[in-house]
Amino acid sequence: MRPGPGTYRVDGRIYASVLGLLQRRPPLVRIVPLSGRYIPKPRDVVVGTVTDVQGTFWLLDIGAPRWTPLHMTGTPWKIDFGETGQYLRVGDAVVVAVESIEATGRIGVTMLGEGLGKLEGGTIATISPAKVPRVIGRSGSMIRTITTLTGCKVVVGQNGRIWVDGSPEGIIRARECLRLIEEEGQRSGLTERVQAYLDSTQTPGSTHDHRSHVLGEIPHSVGGPREAEVILPPPADAAEPEGPAEGSEDDARPDGAPPDEY
Protein backbone atom coordinates (compact mmCIF):
# COMPACT_ATOMS: atom_id res chain seq x y z
CA MET A 1 0.00 0.00 0.00
CA ARG A 2 1.21 3.50 -0.81
CA PRO A 3 0.42 6.70 1.06
CA GLY A 4 -2.31 8.68 -0.73
CA PRO A 5 -3.87 12.07 0.01
CA GLY A 6 -4.18 12.91 3.70
CA THR A 7 -1.40 10.56 4.76
CA TYR A 8 2.37 10.48 5.10
CA ARG A 9 4.93 7.76 5.51
CA VAL A 10 7.73 7.47 8.04
CA ASP A 11 9.94 4.41 8.30
CA GLY A 12 7.61 2.29 6.22
CA ARG A 13 4.56 3.12 8.33
CA ILE A 14 1.70 5.20 7.01
CA TYR A 15 0.07 7.79 9.26
CA ALA A 16 -2.95 10.06 8.83
CA SER A 17 -2.11 13.74 8.47
CA VAL A 18 -5.68 15.02 8.56
CA LEU A 19 -8.85 14.23 10.47
CA GLY A 20 -11.04 12.02 8.34
CA LEU A 21 -12.24 8.63 7.22
CA LEU A 22 -9.82 5.89 6.31
CA GLN A 23 -10.18 4.56 2.80
CA ARG A 24 -8.17 1.67 1.39
CA ARG A 25 -8.20 1.46 -2.36
CA PRO A 26 -5.20 -0.55 -3.39
CA PRO A 27 -2.57 0.49 -4.04
CA LEU A 28 -3.46 3.68 -2.14
CA VAL A 29 -4.37 4.38 1.47
CA ARG A 30 -6.03 7.74 1.84
CA ILE A 31 -7.91 9.81 4.37
CA VAL A 32 -11.11 11.48 3.20
CA PRO A 33 -11.11 14.73 5.19
CA LEU A 34 -14.13 15.55 7.36
CA SER A 35 -13.30 19.22 7.62
CA GLY A 36 -11.09 21.89 6.19
CA ARG A 37 -11.25 24.69 3.72
CA TYR A 38 -12.55 24.29 0.20
CA ILE A 39 -9.84 22.83 -2.02
CA PRO A 40 -10.55 23.81 -5.63
CA LYS A 41 -10.71 21.25 -8.41
CA PRO A 42 -10.77 22.09 -12.12
CA ARG A 43 -14.33 22.39 -13.54
CA ASP A 44 -15.85 23.11 -10.12
CA VAL A 45 -18.57 25.74 -10.24
CA VAL A 46 -18.20 28.02 -7.24
CA VAL A 47 -19.94 31.04 -5.74
CA GLY A 48 -17.63 33.83 -4.60
CA THR A 49 -17.60 37.43 -3.51
CA VAL A 50 -15.37 40.21 -4.78
CA THR A 51 -12.79 41.29 -2.20
CA ASP A 52 -10.61 43.60 -4.29
CA VAL A 53 -10.72 45.43 -7.62
CA GLN A 54 -7.53 45.92 -9.67
CA GLY A 55 -6.88 47.42 -13.10
CA THR A 56 -7.32 44.24 -15.10
CA PHE A 57 -8.73 41.74 -12.63
CA TRP A 58 -10.75 41.23 -9.46
CA LEU A 59 -9.84 39.18 -6.44
CA LEU A 60 -12.51 36.77 -5.28
CA ASP A 61 -13.07 35.05 -1.99
CA ILE A 62 -14.30 31.57 -2.85
CA GLY A 63 -13.54 30.08 0.57
CA ALA A 64 -10.28 28.55 -0.67
CA PRO A 65 -6.99 29.07 1.17
CA ARG A 66 -6.17 31.99 -1.09
CA TRP A 67 -7.99 34.74 -2.89
CA THR A 68 -8.60 33.99 -6.50
CA PRO A 69 -7.95 36.39 -9.38
CA LEU A 70 -10.69 36.71 -12.01
CA HIS A 71 -9.11 38.34 -15.03
CA MET A 72 -11.23 40.62 -17.20
CA THR A 73 -10.57 38.40 -20.23
CA GLY A 74 -12.43 35.67 -18.39
CA THR A 75 -15.67 37.65 -18.40
CA PRO A 76 -18.32 38.20 -21.06
CA TRP A 77 -17.71 41.96 -20.95
CA LYS A 78 -15.46 44.04 -23.14
CA ILE A 79 -13.51 46.07 -20.63
CA ASP A 80 -10.74 48.64 -21.00
CA PHE A 81 -7.97 48.85 -18.44
CA GLY A 82 -9.24 50.49 -15.27
CA GLU A 83 -12.88 49.93 -16.01
CA THR A 84 -13.14 46.76 -13.93
CA GLY A 85 -14.82 48.66 -11.10
CA GLN A 86 -17.77 49.52 -13.32
CA TYR A 87 -18.67 45.87 -13.71
CA LEU A 88 -17.96 44.26 -10.35
CA ARG A 89 -17.39 46.01 -7.06
CA VAL A 90 -16.23 44.83 -3.69
CA GLY A 91 -18.94 42.69 -2.11
CA ASP A 92 -20.60 41.63 -5.37
CA ALA A 93 -21.39 37.94 -5.75
CA VAL A 94 -20.46 35.89 -8.80
CA VAL A 95 -20.66 32.33 -10.08
CA VAL A 96 -17.42 31.23 -11.69
CA ALA A 97 -15.82 27.98 -12.78
CA VAL A 98 -12.38 26.82 -11.70
CA GLU A 99 -10.11 26.41 -14.72
CA SER A 100 -6.69 25.63 -13.34
CA ILE A 101 -4.69 25.21 -10.18
CA GLU A 102 -1.02 26.05 -10.38
CA ALA A 103 1.72 24.50 -8.30
CA THR A 104 2.06 27.80 -6.45
CA GLY A 105 -1.48 27.39 -5.18
CA ARG A 106 -2.76 30.12 -7.49
CA ILE A 107 -6.27 29.36 -8.69
CA GLY A 108 -7.54 30.33 -12.15
CA VAL A 109 -11.25 30.97 -12.62
CA THR A 110 -13.46 32.07 -15.49
CA MET A 111 -16.89 33.58 -15.83
CA LEU A 112 -17.32 32.33 -19.37
CA GLY A 113 -19.67 29.41 -19.60
CA GLU A 114 -23.26 28.45 -19.16
CA GLY A 115 -24.73 29.38 -15.81
CA LEU A 116 -21.79 31.58 -14.89
CA GLY A 117 -21.96 35.30 -14.25
CA LYS A 118 -22.77 37.98 -11.74
CA LEU A 119 -25.45 37.33 -9.14
CA GLU A 120 -27.87 40.16 -8.48
CA GLY A 121 -29.80 40.34 -5.20
CA GLY A 122 -30.38 37.31 -3.05
CA THR A 123 -28.34 36.09 -0.11
CA ILE A 124 -25.46 33.69 0.32
CA ALA A 125 -25.53 30.83 2.80
CA THR A 126 -22.33 29.03 3.72
CA ILE A 127 -22.08 25.35 4.52
CA SER A 128 -19.17 22.96 4.79
CA PRO A 129 -17.88 22.05 1.29
CA ALA A 130 -18.02 18.41 2.38
CA LYS A 131 -21.82 18.67 2.66
CA VAL A 132 -22.41 20.02 -0.84
CA PRO A 133 -23.34 16.63 -2.32
CA ARG A 134 -26.07 16.38 0.34
CA VAL A 135 -27.54 19.72 -0.67
CA ILE A 136 -27.75 18.57 -4.25
CA GLY A 137 -29.04 15.10 -3.44
CA ARG A 138 -29.16 12.11 -5.72
CA SER A 139 -29.09 13.55 -9.24
CA GLY A 140 -30.38 16.86 -7.91
CA SER A 141 -33.39 15.58 -5.97
CA MET A 142 -32.76 17.49 -2.76
CA ILE A 143 -32.15 20.80 -4.43
CA ARG A 144 -35.18 20.33 -6.65
CA THR A 145 -37.34 19.75 -3.56
CA ILE A 146 -36.07 22.96 -2.02
CA THR A 147 -36.49 25.12 -5.11
CA THR A 148 -39.97 23.92 -5.95
CA LEU A 149 -41.33 24.12 -2.42
CA THR A 150 -39.85 27.52 -1.59
CA GLY A 151 -40.08 29.10 -5.01
CA CYS A 152 -36.47 30.19 -4.67
CA LYS A 153 -33.73 30.35 -7.18
CA VAL A 154 -30.68 28.57 -5.87
CA VAL A 155 -27.10 28.35 -7.07
CA VAL A 156 -25.00 25.75 -5.32
CA GLY A 157 -21.25 26.28 -5.44
CA GLN A 158 -18.94 23.33 -4.89
CA ASN A 159 -17.20 25.56 -2.34
CA GLY A 160 -20.17 25.42 0.02
CA ARG A 161 -21.40 28.92 -0.79
CA ILE A 162 -25.03 28.80 -1.79
CA TRP A 163 -26.81 31.73 -3.34
CA VAL A 164 -30.55 31.93 -2.67
CA ASP A 165 -33.06 34.40 -4.02
CA GLY A 166 -36.85 34.53 -3.90
CA SER A 167 -39.59 35.90 -1.70
CA PRO A 168 -38.47 36.87 1.80
CA GLU A 169 -40.20 33.92 3.47
CA GLY A 170 -39.00 31.63 0.69
CA ILE A 171 -35.41 32.63 1.41
CA ILE A 172 -35.89 32.04 5.12
CA ARG A 173 -37.32 28.58 4.49
CA ALA A 174 -34.65 27.66 1.97
CA ARG A 175 -31.90 28.73 4.33
CA GLU A 176 -33.49 26.76 7.14
CA CYS A 177 -33.37 23.70 4.85
CA LEU A 178 -29.67 24.31 4.26
CA ARG A 179 -29.10 24.59 7.99
CA LEU A 180 -30.91 21.28 8.49
CA ILE A 181 -28.72 19.64 5.89
CA GLU A 182 -25.57 21.11 7.40
CA GLU A 183 -26.39 19.96 10.92
CA GLU A 184 -28.05 16.65 10.24
CA GLY A 185 -26.56 15.87 6.86
CA GLN A 186 -25.06 12.61 8.08
CA ARG A 187 -28.29 11.13 9.40
CA SER A 188 -30.60 9.03 7.30
CA GLY A 189 -33.94 10.18 5.93
CA LEU A 190 -32.69 13.67 5.31
CA THR A 191 -34.85 14.32 2.27
CA GLU A 192 -37.95 13.29 4.22
CA ARG A 193 -37.08 15.62 7.07
CA VAL A 194 -36.45 18.54 4.74
CA GLN A 195 -39.71 17.75 2.95
CA ALA A 196 -41.55 17.60 6.28
CA TYR A 197 -40.10 20.92 7.34
CA LEU A 198 -41.15 22.54 4.08
CA ASP A 199 -44.65 21.06 4.23
CA SER A 200 -45.09 22.24 7.80
CA THR A 201 -44.16 25.80 6.90
CA GLN A 202 -46.13 25.90 3.69
CA THR A 203 -47.95 29.21 3.33
CA PRO A 204 -50.40 30.07 0.58
CA GLY A 205 -48.72 31.67 -2.35
CA SER A 206 -45.22 30.78 -1.33
CA THR A 207 -44.68 28.30 -4.11
CA HIS A 208 -44.26 28.28 -7.85
CA ASP A 209 -46.19 31.32 -8.96
CA HIS A 210 -43.96 33.55 -6.89
CA ARG A 211 -40.99 32.81 -8.97
CA SER A 212 -42.00 34.51 -12.13
CA HIS A 213 -42.56 37.97 -10.76
CA VAL A 214 -40.27 38.03 -7.77
CA LEU A 215 -37.09 37.00 -9.38
CA GLY A 216 -34.71 38.92 -11.47
CA GLU A 217 -32.65 37.14 -14.01
CA ILE A 218 -29.08 36.19 -13.68
CA PRO A 219 -27.53 38.61 -16.15
CA HIS A 220 -25.79 37.37 -19.27
CA SER A 221 -25.51 33.85 -18.07
CA VAL A 222 -29.01 32.64 -18.03
CA GLY A 223 -30.60 34.19 -21.09
CA GLY A 224 -34.31 34.25 -20.41
CA PRO A 225 -36.32 31.80 -18.35
CA ARG A 226 -34.84 28.38 -17.96
CA GLU A 227 -36.39 25.09 -17.13
CA ALA A 228 -34.02 24.28 -14.33
CA GLU A 229 -33.46 26.87 -11.66
CA VAL A 230 -30.49 25.03 -10.38
CA ILE A 231 -27.01 25.30 -11.66
CA LEU A 232 -25.45 21.98 -11.05
CA PRO A 233 -21.77 21.27 -11.06
CA PRO A 234 -20.40 18.98 -13.74
CA PRO A 235 -22.08 15.57 -13.64
CA ALA A 236 -18.99 13.75 -12.47
CA ASP A 237 -19.25 15.47 -9.13
CA ALA A 238 -22.99 15.32 -8.66
CA ALA A 239 -23.06 11.61 -9.23
CA GLU A 240 -21.96 10.54 -5.78
CA PRO A 241 -24.11 12.30 -3.22
CA GLU A 242 -23.91 9.56 -0.63
CA GLY A 243 -20.35 10.15 0.48
CA PRO A 244 -17.45 7.77 0.12
CA ALA A 245 -18.02 4.45 -1.53
CA GLU A 246 -19.72 1.90 0.67
CA GLY A 247 -17.70 -0.32 2.89
CA SER A 248 -14.54 1.61 2.32
CA GLU A 249 -14.62 3.73 5.41
CA ASP A 250 -13.53 2.63 8.81
CA ASP A 251 -13.70 5.03 11.66
CA ALA A 252 -12.97 8.66 12.14
CA ARG A 253 -9.40 8.86 13.16
CA PRO A 254 -7.63 11.91 14.38
CA ASP A 255 -4.27 12.95 13.23
CA GLY A 256 -1.40 10.68 13.62
CA ALA A 257 -3.32 7.61 14.55
CA PRO A 258 -1.55 5.03 12.46
CA PRO A 259 -4.19 3.90 9.97
CA ASP A 260 -2.12 1.08 8.69
CA GLU A 261 1.07 -0.75 9.16
CA TYR A 262 3.06 -1.31 6.11
Partner: protein
Amino acid sequence: MGSIGAKEVPVLLSPEGRRIDGRRLDELRPLKITAGALHEADGSAYVEWGANKVMAAVYGPREVHPRHLQQNNKAIVQCRYNMAAFSVDERKRPGLDRRSQEISKVISEAFESVIFAEEYPRTSIDVYIEVLQANAGTRCAGIVAASVALADAGIPMVDLLPSVAVGKVAGEIALDLKKEEDNYGEADVPMALVPQSGRLVLLQMEGHLTAPELARALELGVRGCRSIYETMKQALRDRYATGEAAEPQGAA
Protein backbone atom coordinates in the same frame (compact mmCIF):
# COMPACT_ATOMS: atom_id res chain seq x y z
CA MET B 1 -7.79 37.79 57.68
CA GLY B 2 -4.80 39.97 58.26
CA SER B 3 -2.79 38.02 55.74
CA ILE B 4 -0.89 41.01 54.40
CA GLY B 5 2.75 40.22 54.63
CA ALA B 6 2.07 36.91 56.28
CA LYS B 7 3.85 34.04 54.57
CA GLU B 8 1.58 31.09 54.76
CA VAL B 9 3.15 28.40 52.65
CA PRO B 10 0.50 25.71 52.26
CA VAL B 11 1.38 22.10 52.90
CA LEU B 12 1.99 20.93 49.34
CA LEU B 13 2.59 17.29 50.05
CA SER B 14 1.03 15.26 52.85
CA PRO B 15 3.03 12.55 54.61
CA GLU B 16 0.95 9.99 52.70
CA GLY B 17 2.19 11.43 49.41
CA ARG B 18 -1.02 13.27 48.59
CA ARG B 19 -0.91 16.69 47.02
CA ILE B 20 -2.87 19.78 47.95
CA ASP B 21 -5.89 18.63 45.94
CA GLY B 22 -5.54 14.98 46.90
CA ARG B 23 -3.72 13.83 43.77
CA ARG B 24 -0.69 11.59 43.76
CA LEU B 25 2.57 12.79 42.27
CA ASP B 26 1.92 11.21 38.87
CA GLU B 27 -1.75 12.16 38.53
CA LEU B 28 -3.24 14.68 36.10
CA ARG B 29 -6.01 17.10 36.92
CA PRO B 30 -9.37 16.28 35.30
CA LEU B 31 -9.29 17.19 31.61
CA LYS B 32 -12.31 17.90 29.43
CA ILE B 33 -11.98 18.80 25.75
CA THR B 34 -14.75 19.92 23.41
CA ALA B 35 -13.83 20.03 19.72
CA GLY B 36 -15.68 22.42 17.43
CA ALA B 37 -16.89 24.80 20.12
CA LEU B 38 -17.14 27.85 17.86
CA HIS B 39 -19.19 28.35 14.73
CA GLU B 40 -17.31 30.93 12.69
CA ALA B 41 -13.77 29.60 13.07
CA ASP B 42 -12.44 26.99 10.62
CA GLY B 43 -11.62 24.88 13.66
CA SER B 44 -11.96 25.34 17.40
CA ALA B 45 -11.72 23.65 20.78
CA TYR B 46 -12.57 24.41 24.38
CA VAL B 47 -10.52 22.90 27.17
CA GLU B 48 -11.23 22.67 30.88
CA TRP B 49 -8.24 21.31 32.69
CA GLY B 50 -8.46 21.49 36.47
CA ALA B 51 -9.46 25.08 37.04
CA ASN B 52 -8.03 26.21 33.68
CA LYS B 53 -10.48 27.26 31.00
CA VAL B 54 -9.04 27.85 27.55
CA MET B 55 -10.62 28.49 24.16
CA ALA B 56 -8.72 28.04 20.91
CA ALA B 57 -9.78 29.06 17.40
CA VAL B 58 -8.04 28.35 14.10
CA TYR B 59 -8.51 30.36 10.92
CA GLY B 60 -6.94 29.35 7.68
CA PRO B 61 -5.03 28.54 5.65
CA ARG B 62 -5.95 32.03 4.51
CA GLU B 63 -4.50 35.12 2.87
CA VAL B 64 -1.54 36.44 4.85
CA HIS B 65 -2.23 39.77 6.38
CA PRO B 66 0.64 41.97 6.42
CA ARG B 67 1.64 40.78 2.94
CA HIS B 68 5.39 40.93 3.53
CA LEU B 69 5.15 38.04 5.99
CA GLN B 70 4.02 35.77 3.16
CA GLN B 71 6.38 32.92 2.30
CA ASN B 72 6.49 31.63 -1.25
CA ASN B 73 7.07 28.00 -0.40
CA LYS B 74 4.92 27.41 2.66
CA ALA B 75 2.23 28.61 5.01
CA ILE B 76 3.22 30.62 8.04
CA VAL B 77 1.88 29.64 11.45
CA GLN B 78 0.88 32.51 13.70
CA CYS B 79 -0.26 31.73 17.23
CA ARG B 80 -1.50 34.30 19.66
CA TYR B 81 -1.67 33.38 23.31
CA ASN B 82 -3.70 35.80 25.37
CA MET B 83 -4.94 35.89 28.94
CA ALA B 84 -8.26 37.55 29.67
CA ALA B 85 -8.20 40.38 32.18
CA PHE B 86 -10.48 38.33 34.41
CA SER B 87 -8.53 35.08 34.13
CA VAL B 88 -6.53 35.59 37.33
CA ASP B 89 -7.61 36.89 40.72
CA GLU B 90 -5.69 40.13 40.48
CA ARG B 91 -6.93 41.80 37.26
CA LYS B 92 -4.41 41.29 34.49
CA ARG B 93 -3.68 44.29 32.33
CA PRO B 94 -5.21 43.36 29.00
CA GLY B 95 -3.14 42.91 25.89
CA LEU B 96 0.28 41.70 24.88
CA ASP B 97 2.95 41.60 27.53
CA ARG B 98 6.39 40.04 27.51
CA ARG B 99 5.18 36.79 28.94
CA SER B 100 2.40 36.27 26.40
CA GLN B 101 4.69 37.28 23.53
CA GLU B 102 7.19 34.67 24.56
CA ILE B 103 4.52 32.01 24.95
CA SER B 104 2.99 32.93 21.58
CA LYS B 105 6.41 32.53 19.98
CA VAL B 106 7.27 29.15 21.49
CA ILE B 107 3.81 27.79 20.71
CA SER B 108 4.03 29.02 17.09
CA GLU B 109 7.37 27.28 16.71
CA ALA B 110 6.07 24.07 18.26
CA PHE B 111 3.22 23.96 15.77
CA GLU B 112 5.42 24.94 12.83
CA SER B 113 7.36 21.77 13.45
CA VAL B 114 4.30 19.51 13.12
CA ILE B 115 2.18 21.24 10.46
CA PHE B 116 2.77 20.30 6.82
CA ALA B 117 3.05 23.96 5.88
CA GLU B 118 4.38 23.32 2.36
CA GLU B 119 0.91 22.19 1.30
CA TYR B 120 -0.41 25.75 1.47
CA PRO B 121 2.20 28.16 0.10
CA ARG B 122 1.69 31.92 0.58
CA THR B 123 -0.97 31.49 3.23
CA SER B 124 -1.26 31.95 6.93
CA ILE B 125 -2.62 29.57 9.54
CA ASP B 126 -3.77 31.69 12.45
CA VAL B 127 -4.27 30.18 15.88
CA TYR B 128 -5.87 32.18 18.67
CA ILE B 129 -5.56 30.91 22.24
CA GLU B 130 -7.64 32.71 24.84
CA VAL B 131 -7.15 31.87 28.49
CA LEU B 132 -10.45 32.56 30.24
CA GLN B 133 -9.47 31.23 33.64
CA ALA B 134 -5.93 30.46 34.71
CA ASN B 135 -4.64 28.01 37.28
CA ALA B 136 -1.07 27.12 36.24
CA GLY B 137 -0.19 25.23 33.10
CA THR B 138 -2.15 27.51 30.79
CA ARG B 139 0.37 27.32 27.96
CA CYS B 140 0.01 23.55 28.02
CA ALA B 141 -3.78 23.78 28.08
CA GLY B 142 -3.48 26.28 25.23
CA ILE B 143 -1.37 23.92 23.15
CA VAL B 144 -3.80 21.06 23.76
CA ALA B 145 -6.75 23.24 22.76
CA ALA B 146 -4.98 24.69 19.72
CA SER B 147 -3.91 21.29 18.56
CA VAL B 148 -7.44 19.88 18.66
CA ALA B 149 -8.67 23.05 16.94
CA LEU B 150 -6.08 22.59 14.16
CA ALA B 151 -7.23 19.02 13.58
CA ASP B 152 -10.84 20.23 13.60
CA ALA B 153 -9.86 22.78 10.95
CA GLY B 154 -8.53 20.00 8.74
CA ILE B 155 -4.94 21.23 8.83
CA PRO B 156 -2.48 18.47 7.83
CA MET B 157 -0.10 17.67 10.69
CA VAL B 158 2.40 15.04 11.71
CA ASP B 159 0.39 14.47 14.85
CA LEU B 160 -1.60 16.10 17.61
CA LEU B 161 0.50 17.86 20.21
CA PRO B 162 -0.29 16.84 23.78
CA SER B 163 1.37 19.03 26.35
CA VAL B 164 1.79 19.08 30.12
CA ALA B 165 3.94 20.71 32.79
CA VAL B 166 5.96 18.80 35.35
CA GLY B 167 7.38 20.47 38.45
CA LYS B 168 9.10 20.02 41.74
CA VAL B 169 6.90 20.26 44.79
CA ALA B 170 8.16 19.82 48.36
CA GLY B 171 11.26 18.15 46.99
CA GLU B 172 9.38 15.68 44.79
CA ILE B 173 8.84 15.62 41.03
CA ALA B 174 5.12 16.02 40.36
CA LEU B 175 2.98 15.95 37.22
CA ASP B 176 0.68 18.78 36.15
CA LEU B 177 1.12 21.46 38.82
CA LYS B 178 -1.81 23.52 39.96
CA LYS B 179 -1.57 27.13 41.00
CA GLU B 180 -0.40 26.74 44.62
CA GLU B 181 2.17 24.14 43.61
CA ASP B 182 3.45 26.39 40.85
CA ASN B 183 3.63 29.42 43.14
CA TYR B 184 5.30 27.71 46.08
CA GLY B 185 7.06 24.89 44.27
CA GLU B 186 10.73 24.74 43.30
CA ALA B 187 10.54 24.18 39.53
CA ASP B 188 8.16 24.14 36.57
CA VAL B 189 8.91 22.33 33.29
CA PRO B 190 6.29 22.63 30.53
CA MET B 191 6.70 20.37 27.52
CA ALA B 192 4.89 19.31 24.34
CA LEU B 193 5.29 15.88 22.75
CA VAL B 194 4.84 14.52 19.24
CA PRO B 195 3.53 11.05 20.09
CA GLN B 196 4.20 9.67 16.62
CA SER B 197 7.95 10.27 16.82
CA GLY B 198 8.45 10.70 20.56
CA ARG B 199 10.05 14.08 19.91
CA LEU B 200 9.61 17.04 22.26
CA VAL B 201 8.87 20.23 20.35
CA LEU B 202 8.53 22.46 23.37
CA LEU B 203 10.57 22.29 26.55
CA GLN B 204 11.05 25.11 29.00
CA MET B 205 12.20 25.22 32.59
CA GLU B 206 11.81 27.63 35.44
CA GLY B 207 13.50 27.01 38.81
CA HIS B 208 16.14 24.44 39.62
CA LEU B 209 16.37 20.71 39.00
CA THR B 210 19.28 18.30 39.17
CA ALA B 211 20.02 16.21 36.09
CA PRO B 212 18.42 13.07 37.54
CA GLU B 213 15.39 15.13 38.57
CA LEU B 214 15.04 16.50 35.04
CA ALA B 215 15.25 13.00 33.62
CA ARG B 216 12.49 11.91 35.98
CA ALA B 217 10.45 14.99 35.04
CA LEU B 218 10.74 14.18 31.34
CA GLU B 219 9.73 10.60 31.90
CA LEU B 220 6.69 11.66 33.92
CA GLY B 221 5.79 14.37 31.43
CA VAL B 222 5.95 12.08 28.42
CA ARG B 223 3.70 9.61 30.18
CA GLY B 224 1.27 12.42 31.03
CA CYS B 225 1.29 13.57 27.39
CA ARG B 226 0.42 10.07 26.15
CA SER B 227 -2.60 10.00 28.43
CA ILE B 228 -3.68 13.49 27.33
CA TYR B 229 -3.25 12.37 23.71
CA GLU B 230 -5.99 9.77 24.18
CA THR B 231 -8.38 12.39 25.57
CA MET B 232 -7.63 14.63 22.59
CA LYS B 233 -8.35 11.88 20.08
CA GLN B 234 -11.59 11.00 21.87
CA ALA B 235 -12.71 14.64 21.72
CA LEU B 236 -12.29 14.59 17.95
CA ARG B 237 -14.13 11.28 17.60
CA ASP B 238 -17.00 12.64 19.68
CA ARG B 239 -17.26 15.70 17.49
CA TYR B 240 -17.85 13.70 14.34
CA ALA B 241 -19.44 10.62 15.86
CA THR B 242 -23.15 11.37 15.39
CA GLY B 243 -23.05 11.38 11.64
CA GLU B 244 -20.80 8.44 11.35
CA ALA B 245 -22.71 6.13 13.63
CA ALA B 246 -25.96 6.78 11.81
CA GLU B 247 -24.53 6.39 8.35
CA PRO B 248 -24.32 2.60 7.99
CA GLN B 249 -28.02 2.12 8.78
CA GLY B 250 -28.91 4.75 6.22
CA ALA B 251 -30.60 2.51 3.68
CA ALA B 252 -32.56 0.41 6.18
